[in-house]
């Protein structure tokens, strides 16, 4: 069995494993569904998730330690992840094979030539990481004020270095160079003396936008699986809807289809994870190599299926090589190998990125974050419609962790977790937000799935006790994600004298966070009814015109002229067009007589939210029968995750 076959089997295995993990993240009774399977394993193996969160949070959270294994193997073997493990890479490669059909070998070789624009993925990597590196930069920039000794040491080192250079070369003017060094040091010191760098450089983690593993999880979870659920495969028993998910689909589809033009387009030009590996594998011990120069006829057949476009025929670009090892099989002379010696035609070890390109990407990344934050959406301009899942960290911390992988959206049993559009600014795109219009229920009271699946603890793993605020957590109270507000202009009992209180019924909190006020409203206000005759308990009316049985629902009462006492109200048990029957009551018989003015009143239970009890789960909003714009709606007021959003004392 050739190495190519082994690779294909491996790739296929990992792709299937990946797809299973995606399919497994559902509630269900099957062995292959959620049973503690490591469904985040690919995300954890992805060192860009680890590195990104390491920069943005100064921690490497739990399972992300797996990334170290990938890094270690990459340092030793090269970009094995891209060629052997990455499920997204596998898909690209498969589609790429379709794209290569009926293309002549000569043209294939041309397709697989190295392009200068393969450097773009490194720009993307630098841009994304520098947007996450605000705290690191703050740490460095604050050196003069926080670590003065280190600062002076650096200044002295720089002066010595300049002096040394000047001594070596005649064209360096020592005085001018010294002045420049001291000038920079002075500006640096002044900068951190007078500016609060921490405030100047906020942090956002955006690697998930293009990091292939979160991208693929997101695409499969939100774009591929939902139609399958609906189409009869029923991986998830209910139909899944994801608001605005076409944007995810567009990115995914574009990435896939571009393979028909250029094989592994995404891997070669876009993939920031590949770029990270490209940086890491410069010291790899084993590399692809051309073993003999003299035997080589320079046919370049080794490049006909080269996935990484790393030009193995000439001076090989190690940072681009994805270890597909196709060249080993494709060389008719058996000249290509994978070993510890350098290629006979030479190697490029470092990515093809100029210092200027690197700097531009870095500066752009650093500057873009404070620019985005000018929105104020983290501060006073926070969006009350942005309801995050229970356990989500405070927004500014949340945005340092969320990689937009969509795992919470898939695992959420009720489908209430949705990918955000721009509701948390451009940086919050595809992060989880609750939409109570969608799904089978609101955010379920006894569910903690999202936080426990979240690979980065952007939604921290709550225990049920903590979510409900019981036992050890009884002092803190339950986790609130918002507060429900009754819109009295839309609510059936409040605005339209119709009985309802579906919201109160469904409120899962005990005692309920929605209580009711009982009020009686007069129906037929402008049309006073007058009794024509009273026959036992049936009242004949002069002016009826009722719809038969309209008032026989148990909610309607008869009120005699001038009696405001609630106990004098008589429940109507049936009606015809012009008669009303009331239930047995001695009082009514006693008082009623001909020509009595009669009111029909309705007993209404009007819902009122107790903000101290409401946890914002949105079950009420989901169930509200006013289905367009709901008559009870949750906004992020009083959410636990941000004390500045508290509503009550």
């Amino acid at each position: 069995m050739g190495i190519r076959t082994v690779r294909r089997i491996t790739q296929g295995f990992f792709l299937l494993l990946f797809l299973w993990f995606c399919a497994a993240s559902n509630l269900g009774e099957q062995w292959w569904q959620l049973r503690g399977w490591p469904i985040n394993w690919f995300l954890q193996l992805d060192p860009l998730v680890g590195l990104g969160t390491l920069l943005s949070t100064h921690t490497l959270y739990s399972g992300l330690l797996w990334g170290l294994a990938t890094v270690a193997l990459t340092i030793i073997l090269g970009r094995f992840f891209c060629g052997w493990l990455c499920p997204f890479g596998c898909i690209h490669q498969m589609v790429g094979v379709l794209g290569k059909r009926k293309i002549k070998i000569r043209d294939r070789i041309k397709l697989n030539r190295y392009r200068r624009s393969q450097g773009i993925k490194y720009w993307i990597l630098v841009f994304l990481l520098s947007a996450a590196a605000g705290d690191l930069l703050t740490f460095v920039i604050n050196t003069p004020t926080r670590r003065t000794t280190v600062f002076w040491f650096l200044v002295i080192c720089a002066l010595l270095f300049v002096g040394f250079k000047a001594a070596q070369k005649e064209d360096v003017q020592p005085r001018k160079a010294m002045i420049i060094v001291l000038g920079i040091a002075l500006l640096w010191a002044l900068l951190c003396r007078f500016a609060d760098i921490q405030v100047l450089l906020p942090v956002t983690l955006q690697t998930g936008l293009l990091d292939p593993i979160p991208l693929l999880y997101r695409s499969v979870n939100l774009v591929i699986l939902p139609p399958l659920d609906s189409a009869g495969f029923h991986l998830n028993p209910s139909e899944r809807i994801y608001d605005g998910v076409w944007t995810v689909g567009l990115v995914f589809m574009t990435a896939i289809l571009l393979n028909l033009f250029v094989p592994r387009f995404y891997c070669r030009f876009i993939c920031p994870l590949g770029a990270l590996f490209g940086v890491l594998d410069r010291f790899s011990i084993w590399r692809v190599q051309k073993k003999d120069m003299e035997a080589c006829k320079d046919c370049r057949l080794c490049e006909q299926n080269c996935e990484g476009a790393c030009q193995p025929s000439t001076q090989i670009r190690i940072s681009e090589c994805v270890l597909c090892l196709n060249c080993l099989d494709d060389c008719p002379h058996g000249l290509m190998g994978y070993g510890t010696r350098p290629s006979v035609t030479g190697e490029f070890l470092s990515p093809d990125v100029s210092r200027r390109e690197f700097t531009v990407a870095l500066i752009a990344g650093v500057i873009s974050v404070p620019m985005i934050r000018l929105n104020g959406h983290i501060g006073p301009n926070w969006n009350p419609d942005l309801i995050r899942p229970p356990g989500a960290l405070r927004e500014e911390d949340f945005l340092t962790r969320c990689i937009k992988c969509g795992q919470c959206m898939r695992v959420c049993p009720t489908n209430v977790i949705q990918p955000a559009g721009l509701s948390s600014g451009i940086e919050g795109i595809w992060t989880p937000v609750l939409n109570f219009r969608v799904g089978t229920s609101g955010c379920q009271f006894n569910c903690i799935a999202c936080g426990n699946v979240c690979p980065t603890a952007a939604i921290r793993p709550l225990s049920l006790d903590e979510r409900l605020g019981v036992n050890d957590f009884s002092e803190n109270g339950p986790i609130r994600i918002g507060t429900a507000f009754v819109d009295r202009n839309r609510c059936l009992p409040w605005a339209m004298d119709r009985p309802c209180i579906v919201c109160q019924e469904n409120c899962p909190v005990s005692p309920k966070a929605i209580t009711t006020q009982i009020q009686f409203s007069v129906i037929h206000k402008d049309n006073v009814l007058t009794a024509k005759g009273v026959d036992a308990l049936e009242i004949q009316l002069l002016n009826g015109g009722f719809i038969p049985e309209r008032y026989a629902t148990g909610d309607y009462y008869l009120r005699m002229d001038g009696q405001n006492d609630e106990s004098a109200l008589q429940p109507i048990i049936s009606n015809t067009e012009d008669t009303l029957a009331v239930s047995v009551s001695e009082k009514s018989v006693g008082v009623l007589s001909k020509d009595t003015a009669i009111d029909i009143v309705i007993r209404l239970q009007k819902p009122v939210v107790d903000p101290e009890r409401c946890i914002g789960c949105g079950v009420c909003q989901h169930e509200c029968p006013v289905k367009g714009k709901r008559a009870i709606r949750v906004s992020a007021e009083n959410e636990t995750r941000n004390r500045d959003h508290r509503l009550l004392l």
Partner: protein, 334 residues
Amino acid sequence: MLHLIKIQNSDSVGRREFLTRCTKAGLSLTTACALAYWFYDPMAPSGRQKVDVLPGLPDYSVPEMGNRMAIVRGTDRAKTIRLALEAIGGLERYIRPRDRVLLKVNAAFASPPMLCATSHPDLVTEIARLCLKVGASSVIVADNPINDPASCFALSGIEKAAREAGAKVVLPRRDSFRYFTLEGGLLIREWPLLYAPLQSVDKVIGMAPLKDHHRSGASMTLKNWYGLLGGRRNIFHQDIHNIIKELSMLLKATFVVLDGTATMMRNGPTGGSLSDLKETGTMIVSTDPVAADAYGASLLERTLDELPFIKKAEAEGVGMSDYASLNPKILTTD
């Protein structure tokens, strides 16, 4: 940054190359492992917001002067305040040479001085001038207004008044606040406090105009400390009398000045019309803010029962609502 490895063929060179690669890979690996080990965090963040809480506020009072109060009738603020300060023993007994003084004015609204919704500029000028005259090294004027701070100080005339007297207005900035927990407080807990001006002074004079306040009944010297709170302080309106009680416990001022030259009788605390004002021609200076407010209530024609915060502050030992027991000096400038 291209690195071109020279083509090497001999075995010894190959071996050397292998060792070099191993060394470099080993070093990178060690670095990666060290970083991962160093930053590894098996636990998720707790979700609690950690804040640095101030240990406490200094005592700005002058205990040896005891409790003193002066009530001076008159319409010229400069004259009445001078007389009142003399009556409580003279400003020089409160402000020592080289003291740095904070005038905590009420600059809550961006409205002109004639509406008396804010501390009157004449009073600011006179007190600042007197403080500097008795040797204060600096006088700063501060508040955390409700309307835009810079506009408030400009339109209320306080900024100009301060500048003319040689004092300086300190506007609240993002970094002027520190979290504070009031000992024995239930409301002021880990709450942002306008600390920067308090931090840099030795004496604090609370200056409040006498105003109606629709929620609490009256805005006087105790309510004036609301202007030291930051954050979303208006949620405290859900429990207004207890927050004023806690504000009364927040700090011990050197003394307070309650300006009842014109009293805003209704439509407070913003007012907005001269018809809301009543000429009550009274300047109150007191080392006991509870007594000052209790007297102010009478000018506002309110009973103490209508202003529960006064009794609440008294119950906390902040001062005496029975101002007569302080034997206030009642004087007139006319």
